[in-house]
Amino acid sequence: MQEETGCVAVLEKASVRLGGRLIQESMTFTVEEGEFLAVLGPNGAGKTTLLRLLLGLIEPSSGSVSVFGAPPRRGNSRIGYVPQFRDVDAGISIRARDIVRLGLDGHRWGPGLPSRKREAAIDEVLEEVGALDLAEASLGELSGGERQRVLVAQALLTNPRLLLLDEPLASLDLAREAEIVGLVARLRRTRKTAVLLVTHDVNPMLSEIDGVLFMANGRCAKGPIAEVVTSAALSGLYGSPVEVVEALGKLFVVGAPI
Protein backbone atom coordinates (compact mmCIF):
# COMPACT_ATOMS: atom_id res chain seq x y z
CA MET A 1 0.00 0.00 0.00
CA GLN A 2 1.40 3.38 -0.94
CA GLU A 3 1.89 5.79 1.93
CA GLU A 4 1.07 9.00 0.12
CA THR A 5 1.23 11.99 2.40
CA GLY A 6 -1.96 13.37 0.96
CA CYS A 7 -4.05 10.37 2.00
CA VAL A 8 -6.37 10.58 4.94
CA ALA A 9 -7.71 7.07 4.56
CA VAL A 10 -6.83 4.20 2.30
CA LEU A 11 -9.03 1.13 1.95
CA GLU A 12 -7.83 -1.84 -0.02
CA LYS A 13 -10.18 -4.75 -0.67
CA ALA A 14 -11.64 -4.16 2.79
CA SER A 15 -14.65 -6.33 3.58
CA VAL A 16 -16.86 -6.07 6.63
CA ARG A 17 -19.00 -8.78 8.14
CA LEU A 18 -21.32 -8.11 11.06
CA GLY A 19 -22.92 -11.07 12.78
CA GLY A 20 -22.12 -13.33 9.83
CA ARG A 21 -23.75 -10.98 7.32
CA LEU A 22 -21.57 -9.48 4.61
CA ILE A 23 -22.08 -5.71 4.82
CA GLN A 24 -19.48 -4.55 2.35
CA GLU A 25 -17.23 -6.55 0.11
CA SER A 26 -13.87 -5.42 -1.15
CA MET A 27 -14.03 -1.67 -0.60
CA THR A 28 -11.14 -0.03 -2.40
CA PHE A 29 -10.83 3.75 -2.41
CA THR A 30 -8.86 6.57 -0.86
CA VAL A 31 -9.92 9.74 0.91
CA GLU A 32 -7.61 12.63 0.09
CA GLU A 33 -6.56 15.45 2.36
CA GLY A 34 -9.32 18.06 2.53
CA GLU A 35 -11.72 16.02 0.41
CA PHE A 36 -15.47 16.51 1.02
CA LEU A 37 -17.42 13.35 0.24
CA ALA A 38 -21.11 12.60 0.56
CA VAL A 39 -21.66 9.00 1.62
CA LEU A 40 -24.87 7.75 0.02
CA GLY A 41 -26.79 4.52 -0.01
CA PRO A 42 -29.88 2.74 1.32
CA ASN A 43 -30.31 1.78 4.96
CA GLY A 44 -28.12 -1.13 5.93
CA ALA A 45 -25.70 -0.58 3.03
CA GLY A 46 -22.86 -0.01 5.48
CA LYS A 47 -22.53 3.78 5.70
CA THR A 48 -22.32 3.92 9.48
CA THR A 49 -20.28 0.71 9.40
CA LEU A 50 -17.70 2.47 7.23
CA LEU A 51 -17.40 5.27 9.77
CA ARG A 52 -17.03 2.73 12.58
CA LEU A 53 -14.33 1.00 10.55
CA LEU A 54 -12.35 4.23 10.20
CA LEU A 55 -12.81 4.93 13.92
CA GLY A 56 -11.34 1.55 14.83
CA LEU A 57 -14.58 0.42 16.47
CA ILE A 58 -14.78 -2.62 14.20
CA GLU A 59 -12.19 -4.47 12.14
CA PRO A 60 -12.35 -5.49 8.51
CA SER A 61 -12.95 -9.21 8.04
CA SER A 62 -10.46 -9.11 5.20
CA GLY A 63 -8.45 -6.53 3.28
CA SER A 64 -6.75 -3.54 4.80
CA VAL A 65 -7.71 -0.13 6.12
CA SER A 66 -5.32 2.62 7.05
CA VAL A 67 -6.05 6.03 8.49
CA PHE A 68 -3.29 8.64 8.37
CA GLY A 69 -0.91 5.90 7.33
CA ALA A 70 -1.64 3.58 10.25
CA PRO A 71 -4.28 1.00 11.15
CA PRO A 72 -7.42 2.63 12.60
CA ARG A 73 -7.41 2.93 16.37
CA ARG A 74 -9.99 4.08 18.88
CA GLY A 75 -9.38 7.48 20.41
CA ASN A 76 -7.60 8.91 17.37
CA SER A 77 -7.75 12.65 18.01
CA ARG A 78 -7.18 13.37 14.31
CA ILE A 79 -10.71 12.19 13.64
CA GLY A 80 -13.74 14.21 14.69
CA TYR A 81 -16.93 12.15 14.89
CA VAL A 82 -20.54 13.24 15.12
CA PRO A 83 -22.69 10.11 15.53
CA GLN A 84 -26.19 9.87 14.18
CA PHE A 85 -28.78 11.86 16.05
CA ARG A 86 -29.60 9.98 19.18
CA ASP A 87 -32.55 10.04 21.44
CA VAL A 88 -30.75 11.47 24.43
CA ASP A 89 -32.81 12.29 27.45
CA ALA A 90 -33.49 15.96 26.96
CA GLY A 91 -34.36 16.29 30.65
CA ILE A 92 -30.74 16.01 31.72
CA SER A 93 -29.13 19.15 33.11
CA ILE A 94 -26.27 19.85 30.79
CA ARG A 95 -25.37 22.96 28.83
CA ALA A 96 -24.14 23.14 25.27
CA ARG A 97 -20.71 24.18 26.53
CA ASP A 98 -20.57 21.14 28.82
CA ILE A 99 -21.29 18.90 25.85
CA VAL A 100 -18.59 20.59 23.77
CA ARG A 101 -16.16 20.22 26.64
CA LEU A 102 -16.55 16.43 26.53
CA GLY A 103 -14.76 16.52 23.19
CA LEU A 104 -11.72 17.95 24.93
CA ASP A 105 -11.46 16.03 28.17
CA GLY A 106 -14.47 13.70 28.37
CA HIS A 107 -12.13 10.70 28.13
CA ARG A 108 -10.02 11.75 31.10
CA TRP A 109 -10.54 10.39 34.58
CA GLY A 110 -11.59 12.50 37.53
CA PRO A 111 -13.94 15.48 37.62
CA GLY A 112 -11.43 17.98 36.19
CA LEU A 113 -10.57 21.42 37.45
CA PRO A 114 -12.00 24.72 36.24
CA SER A 115 -9.84 26.18 33.50
CA ARG A 116 -10.06 29.53 31.76
CA LYS A 117 -7.99 28.25 28.88
CA ARG A 118 -10.42 25.39 28.36
CA GLU A 119 -13.45 27.69 28.48
CA ALA A 120 -11.77 29.98 25.94
CA ALA A 121 -11.15 27.01 23.62
CA ILE A 122 -14.80 26.01 23.98
CA ASP A 123 -15.95 29.55 23.18
CA GLU A 124 -13.71 29.56 20.14
CA VAL A 125 -15.17 26.42 18.53
CA LEU A 126 -18.71 27.44 19.45
CA GLU A 127 -18.07 30.75 17.70
CA GLU A 128 -16.65 28.90 14.71
CA VAL A 129 -19.87 26.91 14.25
CA GLY A 130 -22.00 29.96 14.96
CA ALA A 131 -23.36 28.65 18.25
CA LEU A 132 -21.68 30.90 20.79
CA ASP A 133 -25.09 32.29 21.74
CA LEU A 134 -26.21 28.77 22.59
CA ALA A 135 -23.31 28.08 24.97
CA GLU A 136 -25.41 28.36 28.13
CA ALA A 137 -28.56 26.72 26.76
CA SER A 138 -29.31 23.25 27.97
CA LEU A 139 -29.45 20.20 25.75
CA GLY A 140 -33.24 19.98 25.94
CA GLU A 141 -33.57 23.55 24.75
CA LEU A 142 -31.65 23.02 21.52
CA SER A 143 -33.44 22.39 18.24
CA GLY A 144 -32.18 19.65 15.93
CA GLY A 145 -30.03 22.01 13.88
CA GLU A 146 -28.64 23.75 16.96
CA ARG A 147 -27.75 20.41 18.45
CA GLN A 148 -25.86 19.44 15.30
CA ARG A 149 -23.83 22.65 15.51
CA VAL A 150 -22.93 21.97 19.11
CA LEU A 151 -21.92 18.38 18.33
CA VAL A 152 -19.80 19.54 15.40
CA ALA A 153 -18.11 22.00 17.76
CA GLN A 154 -17.43 19.10 20.14
CA ALA A 155 -15.81 17.16 17.31
CA LEU A 156 -13.63 20.13 16.33
CA LEU A 157 -11.88 20.58 19.68
CA THR A 158 -9.08 18.16 18.88
CA ASN A 159 -8.34 19.86 15.52
CA PRO A 160 -9.25 16.79 13.49
CA ARG A 161 -7.96 16.23 9.95
CA LEU A 162 -10.97 14.08 9.17
CA LEU A 163 -14.58 14.78 10.11
CA LEU A 164 -17.07 11.90 10.11
CA LEU A 165 -20.66 13.16 10.18
CA ASP A 166 -23.36 10.51 10.39
CA GLU A 167 -26.62 11.82 8.95
CA PRO A 168 -26.26 15.36 10.28
CA LEU A 169 -29.19 16.42 8.09
CA ALA A 170 -31.67 13.84 9.38
CA SER A 171 -34.86 15.40 10.68
CA LEU A 172 -33.87 18.93 9.68
CA ASP A 173 -36.00 21.18 7.53
CA LEU A 174 -34.62 22.55 4.24
CA ALA A 175 -33.35 25.84 5.66
CA ARG A 176 -31.57 24.08 8.52
CA GLU A 177 -30.14 21.52 6.08
CA ALA A 178 -28.63 24.32 4.00
CA GLU A 179 -27.17 25.91 7.13
CA ILE A 180 -25.43 22.73 8.29
CA VAL A 181 -24.10 22.03 4.78
CA GLY A 182 -22.85 25.64 4.61
CA LEU A 183 -21.16 25.22 7.97
CA VAL A 184 -19.44 21.97 6.98
CA ALA A 185 -18.33 23.44 3.64
CA ARG A 186 -16.89 26.47 5.42
CA LEU A 187 -15.09 24.34 7.99
CA ARG A 188 -13.46 22.17 5.37
CA ARG A 189 -12.30 25.30 3.49
CA THR A 190 -10.89 27.10 6.54
CA ARG A 191 -9.51 24.03 8.29
CA LYS A 192 -8.65 21.97 5.19
CA THR A 193 -10.31 19.04 6.90
CA ALA A 194 -11.46 16.02 4.95
CA VAL A 195 -15.17 15.29 5.48
CA LEU A 196 -17.27 12.18 5.08
CA LEU A 197 -20.92 13.19 5.41
CA VAL A 198 -23.48 10.40 5.49
CA THR A 199 -26.78 11.45 3.96
CA HIS A 200 -29.82 10.16 2.12
CA ASP A 201 -30.06 13.24 -0.06
CA VAL A 202 -27.08 14.60 -1.95
CA ASN A 203 -28.97 17.59 -3.38
CA PRO A 204 -28.35 20.06 -0.53
CA MET A 205 -24.59 19.72 -1.06
CA LEU A 206 -24.27 19.27 -4.83
CA SER A 207 -22.20 22.41 -5.27
CA GLU A 208 -19.96 21.80 -2.26
CA ILE A 209 -18.78 18.21 -2.43
CA ASP A 210 -15.82 16.84 -4.34
CA GLY A 211 -17.51 13.52 -4.92
CA VAL A 212 -19.71 10.79 -3.55
CA LEU A 213 -19.18 7.39 -2.08
CA PHE A 214 -22.19 5.35 -3.04
CA MET A 215 -22.77 2.17 -1.08
CA ALA A 216 -25.38 -0.42 -2.04
CA ASN A 217 -25.82 -4.12 -2.35
CA GLY A 218 -22.60 -4.95 -0.48
CA ARG A 219 -20.49 -2.86 -2.82
CA CYS A 220 -19.42 0.72 -3.18
CA ALA A 221 -18.34 3.21 -5.81
CA LYS A 222 -16.42 6.41 -5.26
CA GLY A 223 -15.98 9.27 -7.68
CA PRO A 224 -17.36 12.58 -8.91
CA ILE A 225 -21.14 12.84 -9.05
CA ALA A 226 -21.08 12.92 -12.82
CA GLU A 227 -19.47 9.48 -12.86
CA VAL A 228 -21.12 7.71 -9.93
CA VAL A 229 -24.63 9.08 -9.77
CA THR A 230 -25.61 8.01 -13.27
CA SER A 231 -28.17 5.51 -14.49
CA ALA A 232 -25.51 3.15 -15.79
CA ALA A 233 -23.23 3.27 -12.76
CA LEU A 234 -26.01 2.86 -10.21
CA SER A 235 -27.70 0.09 -12.20
CA GLY A 236 -24.40 -1.76 -12.06
CA LEU A 237 -24.04 -1.14 -8.32
CA TYR A 238 -27.57 -2.18 -7.39
CA GLY A 239 -27.63 -4.99 -9.92
CA SER A 240 -31.04 -3.86 -11.15
CA PRO A 241 -32.27 -1.11 -13.46
CA VAL A 242 -31.94 2.27 -11.79
CA GLU A 243 -32.66 5.62 -13.42
CA VAL A 244 -31.06 8.89 -12.38
CA VAL A 245 -33.30 11.79 -13.30
CA GLU A 246 -32.24 15.40 -13.28
CA ALA A 247 -34.97 17.93 -12.68
CA LEU A 248 -35.01 21.47 -11.34
CA GLY A 249 -31.24 21.26 -10.86
CA LYS A 250 -31.62 18.29 -8.58
CA LEU A 251 -30.82 14.63 -8.91
CA PHE A 252 -33.38 11.93 -8.25
CA VAL A 253 -32.69 8.23 -8.13
CA VAL A 254 -35.65 6.23 -9.41
CA GLY A 255 -36.10 2.50 -9.04
CA ALA A 256 -33.97 1.89 -5.96
CA PRO A 257 -33.93 3.00 -2.35
CA ILE A 258 -31.29 5.48 -1.21
Binding site: R74, W109, R116
Partner: protein, 294 residues
Protein backbone atom coordinates in the same frame (compact mmCIF):
# COMPACT_ATOMS: atom_id res chain seq x y z
CA UNK B 1 -35.58 19.60 68.76
CA UNK B 2 -31.99 20.23 69.86
CA UNK B 3 -32.69 18.23 73.00
CA UNK B 4 -33.21 15.24 70.77
CA UNK B 5 -29.56 15.40 69.70
CA UNK B 6 -28.61 14.26 73.18
CA UNK B 7 -29.78 10.80 72.29
CA UNK B 8 -27.11 8.72 70.54
CA UNK B 9 -29.67 7.07 68.25
CA UNK B 10 -30.74 10.51 66.99
CA UNK B 11 -27.14 11.51 66.31
CA UNK B 12 -26.52 8.22 64.50
CA UNK B 13 -29.69 8.75 62.51
CA UNK B 14 -28.73 12.25 61.44
CA UNK B 15 -25.15 11.33 60.52
CA UNK B 16 -26.19 8.27 58.52
CA UNK B 17 -29.08 10.15 56.94
CA UNK B 18 -26.79 12.99 55.89
CA UNK B 19 -24.21 10.66 54.38
CA UNK B 20 -26.71 8.72 52.30
CA UNK B 21 -28.61 11.86 51.26
CA UNK B 22 -25.50 13.43 49.74
CA UNK B 23 -24.44 10.19 48.06
CA UNK B 24 -27.93 9.44 46.74
CA UNK B 25 -28.21 12.95 45.30
CA UNK B 26 -24.95 12.63 43.39
CA UNK B 27 -25.75 9.15 42.08
CA UNK B 28 -29.32 10.21 41.37
CA UNK B 29 -28.23 12.77 38.76
CA UNK B 30 -26.79 9.98 36.63
CA UNK B 31 -29.66 7.59 37.36
CA UNK B 32 -32.11 10.15 36.00
CA UNK B 33 -29.83 11.16 33.12
CA UNK B 34 -29.25 7.54 32.09
CA UNK B 35 -32.97 6.68 32.30
CA UNK B 36 -32.24 4.07 34.94
CA UNK B 37 -35.11 4.99 37.21
CA UNK B 38 -36.77 1.62 36.82
CA UNK B 39 -33.50 -0.14 37.60
CA UNK B 40 -33.16 2.11 40.65
CA UNK B 41 -36.55 0.87 41.74
CA UNK B 42 -35.75 -2.79 41.05
CA UNK B 43 -32.31 -2.96 42.64
CA UNK B 44 -33.52 -2.30 46.20
CA UNK B 45 -36.41 -4.74 45.74
CA UNK B 46 -33.90 -7.38 44.73
CA UNK B 47 -31.68 -6.26 47.60
CA UNK B 48 -34.60 -6.89 49.93
CA UNK B 49 -34.43 -10.61 49.13
CA UNK B 50 -30.74 -10.54 50.05
CA UNK B 51 -31.45 -8.74 53.29
CA UNK B 52 -34.19 -11.22 54.18
CA UNK B 53 -31.77 -14.05 53.45
CA UNK B 54 -29.17 -12.39 55.65
CA UNK B 55 -31.66 -12.13 58.50
CA UNK B 56 -32.42 -15.81 58.08
CA UNK B 57 -28.74 -16.77 58.28
CA UNK B 58 -27.91 -14.30 61.02
CA UNK B 59 -25.78 -11.89 58.96
CA UNK B 60 -26.20 -8.11 59.13
CA UNK B 61 -29.02 -7.36 56.64
CA UNK B 62 -27.12 -4.58 54.85
CA UNK B 63 -24.48 -7.07 53.67
CA UNK B 64 -27.06 -9.43 52.20
CA UNK B 65 -28.81 -6.43 50.70
CA UNK B 66 -25.61 -5.21 49.06
CA UNK B 67 -24.66 -8.66 47.72
CA UNK B 68 -28.02 -9.03 45.95
CA UNK B 69 -28.13 -5.39 44.84
CA UNK B 70 -24.64 -5.66 43.34
CA UNK B 71 -25.52 -8.87 41.50
CA UNK B 72 -28.66 -7.17 40.19
CA UNK B 73 -26.69 -4.09 39.09
CA UNK B 74 -24.10 -6.14 37.23
CA UNK B 75 -26.86 -8.23 35.66
CA UNK B 76 -28.74 -5.16 34.52
CA UNK B 77 -25.49 -3.76 33.13
CA UNK B 78 -24.90 -6.95 31.15
CA UNK B 79 -28.43 -7.20 29.77
CA UNK B 80 -27.59 -4.27 27.59
CA UNK B 81 -28.51 -1.00 26.19
CA UNK B 82 -32.00 -1.31 24.82
CA UNK B 83 -34.22 0.20 27.44
CA UNK B 84 -37.33 -1.82 26.67
CA UNK B 85 -35.58 -5.17 26.67
CA UNK B 86 -33.72 -4.20 29.82
CA UNK B 87 -36.92 -3.25 31.61
CA UNK B 88 -38.56 -6.57 30.84
CA UNK B 89 -35.60 -8.56 32.14
CA UNK B 90 -35.36 -6.34 35.20
CA UNK B 91 -39.05 -6.79 35.95
CA UNK B 92 -38.81 -10.59 35.75
CA UNK B 93 -35.73 -10.60 37.98
CA UNK B 94 -37.33 -8.24 40.45
CA UNK B 95 -40.53 -10.21 40.92
CA UNK B 96 -38.54 -13.42 41.34
CA UNK B 97 -36.40 -11.72 43.98
CA UNK B 98 -39.47 -10.44 45.78
CA UNK B 99 -40.86 -13.96 45.84
CA UNK B 100 -37.55 -15.22 47.16
CA UNK B 101 -37.60 -12.55 49.84
CA UNK B 102 -41.06 -13.66 50.90
CA UNK B 103 -39.85 -17.27 51.06
CA UNK B 104 -36.98 -16.26 53.35
CA UNK B 105 -39.40 -14.35 55.53
CA UNK B 106 -41.79 -17.23 55.89
CA UNK B 107 -38.88 -19.50 56.84
CA UNK B 108 -37.73 -16.98 59.42
CA UNK B 109 -39.28 -17.56 62.78
CA UNK B 110 -37.71 -14.61 64.56
CA UNK B 111 -38.67 -11.08 65.28
CA UNK B 112 -40.61 -9.60 62.34
CA UNK B 113 -39.59 -6.04 63.20
CA UNK B 114 -36.17 -6.55 61.61
CA UNK B 115 -37.73 -7.47 58.31
CA UNK B 116 -40.19 -4.62 58.56
CA UNK B 117 -37.16 -2.34 59.02
CA UNK B 118 -35.60 -3.61 55.81
CA UNK B 119 -38.72 -2.81 53.86
CA UNK B 120 -39.50 0.59 55.32
CA UNK B 121 -36.26 1.75 56.90
CA UNK B 122 -35.05 1.71 60.44
CA UNK B 123 -33.06 4.87 60.74
CA UNK B 124 -33.67 5.26 64.44
CA UNK B 125 -32.13 1.85 65.09
CA UNK B 126 -28.69 2.51 63.62
CA UNK B 127 -25.68 1.57 65.73
CA UNK B 128 -22.36 3.43 65.90
CA UNK B 129 -20.68 0.53 64.10
CA UNK B 130 -23.27 0.87 61.36
CA UNK B 131 -22.53 4.58 61.04
CA UNK B 132 -18.82 3.82 60.54
CA UNK B 133 -19.52 1.15 57.92
CA UNK B 134 -21.88 3.53 56.12
CA UNK B 135 -19.33 6.36 56.20
CA UNK B 136 -16.50 4.25 54.82
CA UNK B 137 -18.66 2.64 52.12
CA UNK B 138 -20.08 6.03 51.11
CA UNK B 139 -16.57 7.48 50.84
CA UNK B 140 -15.57 4.61 48.56
CA UNK B 141 -18.68 5.11 46.41
CA UNK B 142 -18.13 8.87 46.20
CA UNK B 143 -14.47 8.38 45.33
CA UNK B 144 -15.36 5.99 42.52
CA UNK B 145 -18.01 8.34 41.20
CA UNK B 146 -15.55 11.25 41.13
CA UNK B 147 -12.95 9.08 39.43
CA UNK B 148 -15.26 8.15 36.56
CA UNK B 149 -17.11 11.48 36.50
CA UNK B 150 -16.06 12.82 33.10
CA UNK B 151 -16.11 9.50 31.22
CA UNK B 152 -19.47 8.69 32.80
CA UNK B 153 -20.90 12.03 31.72
CA UNK B 154 -19.51 11.48 28.21
CA UNK B 155 -20.97 7.95 28.02
CA UNK B 156 -24.30 9.24 29.32
CA UNK B 157 -24.67 12.09 26.85
CA UNK B 158 -23.00 10.57 23.81
CA UNK B 159 -22.12 6.88 24.13
CA UNK B 160 -21.09 6.47 20.49
CA UNK B 161 -18.74 9.44 20.47
CA UNK B 162 -17.38 8.28 23.83
CA UNK B 163 -16.63 4.83 22.39
CA UNK B 164 -14.94 6.43 19.40
CA UNK B 165 -12.74 8.42 21.76
CA UNK B 166 -11.57 5.13 23.22
CA UNK B 167 -13.72 4.94 26.36
CA UNK B 168 -14.80 1.48 27.57
CA UNK B 169 -18.50 2.36 27.56
CA UNK B 170 -19.81 -1.00 28.85
CA UNK B 171 -17.27 -1.18 31.67
CA UNK B 172 -18.05 2.34 32.79
CA UNK B 173 -21.76 1.54 32.75
CA UNK B 174 -21.23 -1.58 34.89
CA UNK B 175 -18.96 0.34 37.25
CA UNK B 176 -21.59 3.04 37.68
CA UNK B 177 -24.34 0.51 38.38
CA UNK B 178 -22.13 -1.11 41.02
CA UNK B 179 -21.57 2.24 42.70
CA UNK B 180 -25.32 2.84 42.48
CA UNK B 181 -25.98 -0.56 44.10
CA UNK B 182 -23.70 0.40 46.97
CA UNK B 183 -25.40 3.77 47.38
CA UNK B 184 -28.84 2.14 47.26
CA UNK B 185 -27.83 -0.43 49.90
CA UNK B 186 -26.63 2.29 52.24
CA UNK B 187 -29.66 4.48 51.64
CA UNK B 188 -32.03 1.57 52.18
CA UNK B 189 -30.97 1.47 55.83
CA UNK B 190 -32.56 4.88 56.20
CA UNK B 191 -35.42 4.72 53.73
CA UNK B 192 -36.11 1.01 53.48
CA UNK B 193 -36.06 -1.07 50.31
CA UNK B 194 -39.48 0.12 49.19
CA UNK B 195 -38.91 3.85 49.66
CA UNK B 196 -35.21 4.25 48.88
CA UNK B 197 -36.20 5.17 45.34
CA UNK B 198 -37.45 8.49 46.75
CA UNK B 199 -34.00 9.53 47.89
CA UNK B 200 -32.27 8.31 44.72
CA UNK B 201 -34.60 9.97 42.24
CA UNK B 202 -36.63 12.70 43.96
CA UNK B 203 -33.87 15.23 44.69
CA UNK B 204 -32.09 14.63 41.37
CA UNK B 205 -35.29 14.99 39.35
CA UNK B 206 -36.03 18.26 41.12
CA UNK B 207 -32.46 19.54 40.73
CA UNK B 208 -32.60 18.79 37.00
CA UNK B 209 -35.37 21.36 36.71
CA UNK B 210 -33.57 24.01 38.71
CA UNK B 211 -30.20 24.27 37.01
CA UNK B 212 -28.59 23.61 33.65
CA UNK B 213 -25.17 22.58 34.85
CA UNK B 214 -24.21 19.00 35.68
CA UNK B 215 -22.01 20.01 38.64
CA UNK B 216 -24.67 22.24 40.07
CA UNK B 217 -27.43 19.71 39.51
CA UNK B 218 -25.45 17.18 41.52
CA UNK B 219 -24.76 19.68 44.29
CA UNK B 220 -28.40 20.81 44.33
CA UNK B 221 -29.62 17.20 44.47
CA UNK B 222 -27.28 16.47 47.37
CA UNK B 223 -28.41 19.55 49.28
CA UNK B 224 -32.09 18.83 48.61
CA UNK B 225 -31.64 15.26 49.80
CA UNK B 226 -29.91 16.53 52.92
CA UNK B 227 -32.77 18.93 53.61
CA UNK B 228 -35.40 16.21 53.04
CA UNK B 229 -33.69 13.80 55.42
CA UNK B 230 -33.15 16.38 58.16
CA UNK B 231 -36.69 17.66 57.90
CA UNK B 232 -37.98 14.12 57.79
CA UNK B 233 -36.07 13.02 60.86
CA UNK B 234 -36.96 16.23 62.68
CA UNK B 235 -40.65 15.94 61.90
CA UNK B 236 -40.71 12.27 62.78
CA UNK B 237 -38.95 12.91 66.08
CA UNK B 238 -41.22 15.78 67.03
CA UNK B 239 -44.42 14.01 66.10
CA UNK B 240 -43.20 10.83 67.71
CA UNK B 241 -45.49 8.83 65.44
CA UNK B 242 -44.71 9.63 61.79
CA UNK B 243 -42.10 7.32 60.27
CA UNK B 244 -38.98 8.99 58.89
CA UNK B 245 -39.19 7.32 55.49
CA UNK B 246 -42.78 8.44 55.08
CA UNK B 247 -41.83 12.03 55.91
CA UNK B 248 -38.88 12.03 53.47
CA UNK B 249 -40.95 10.62 50.63
CA UNK B 250 -43.77 13.07 51.37
CA UNK B 251 -41.38 16.04 51.35
CA UNK B 252 -39.70 14.86 48.13
CA UNK B 253 -43.09 14.64 46.46
CA UNK B 254 -44.27 17.98 47.85
CA UNK B 255 -41.16 19.73 46.48
CA UNK B 256 -41.04 17.99 43.11
CA UNK B 257 -44.64 18.68 42.19
CA UNK B 258 -44.56 22.51 42.14
CA UNK B 259 -41.07 22.53 40.62
CA UNK B 260 -42.27 20.20 37.88
CA UNK B 261 -45.21 22.44 37.15
CA UNK B 262 -43.56 25.84 37.28
CA UNK B 263 -39.81 25.69 36.94
CA UNK B 264 -38.00 26.20 33.69
CA UNK B 265 -39.92 26.12 30.45
CA UNK B 266 -38.51 23.60 28.00
CA UNK B 267 -37.53 26.25 25.48
CA UNK B 268 -35.55 29.40 26.02
CA UNK B 269 -38.03 32.23 26.19
CA UNK B 270 -38.74 33.75 22.82
CA UNK B 271 -36.65 31.30 20.85
CA UNK B 272 -39.48 29.15 19.60
CA UNK B 273 -39.75 31.20 16.44
CA UNK B 274 -36.02 31.62 16.23
CA UNK B 275 -34.76 31.55 12.70
CA UNK B 276 -31.36 30.60 11.42
CA UNK B 277 -28.40 30.94 13.60
CA UNK B 278 -29.83 32.73 16.51
CA UNK B 279 -30.88 35.92 14.81
CA UNK B 280 -31.28 38.07 17.87
CA UNK B 281 -31.69 34.99 20.00
CA UNK B 282 -32.03 35.78 23.64
CA UNK B 283 -28.96 34.64 25.42
CA UNK B 284 -28.51 32.42 28.37
CA UNK B 285 -30.81 32.91 31.31
CA UNK B 286 -29.71 35.09 34.18
CA UNK B 287 -29.26 32.10 36.42
CA UNK B 288 -26.02 31.14 34.69
CA UNK B 289 -22.84 33.09 34.98
CA UNK B 290 -19.07 32.80 35.01
CA UNK B 291 -17.02 29.81 34.09
CA UNK B 292 -17.80 26.24 34.73
CA UNK B 293 -17.40 24.74 38.10
CA UNK B 294 -18.32 21.28 37.01
Amino acid sequence: MLDLLRYPFMRNALITGSIVAVLAGAIGYFIVARSLTFAAHAIPNIGFAGAAGAVLTGILPVYGFFAFALAAAVGIGLVGKRARERDIVVAVLMTFALGLGFLFLSLYAGYAQRVYGILFGSILGISVGNVVVTGVAAAVAMGLLLAIYRPLLFCTVDPQAAAARGLPVATISALFLSVAALAISLSAQVMGALLVFTLMVGPAATANRLTRRPGRAILTAALLGLAYVWLGIGAAAISGRLPVSFMVSAIAFAVYLPVRIWARPRRRPGSASMSPRGAGAPDAPAEEEGCSAS
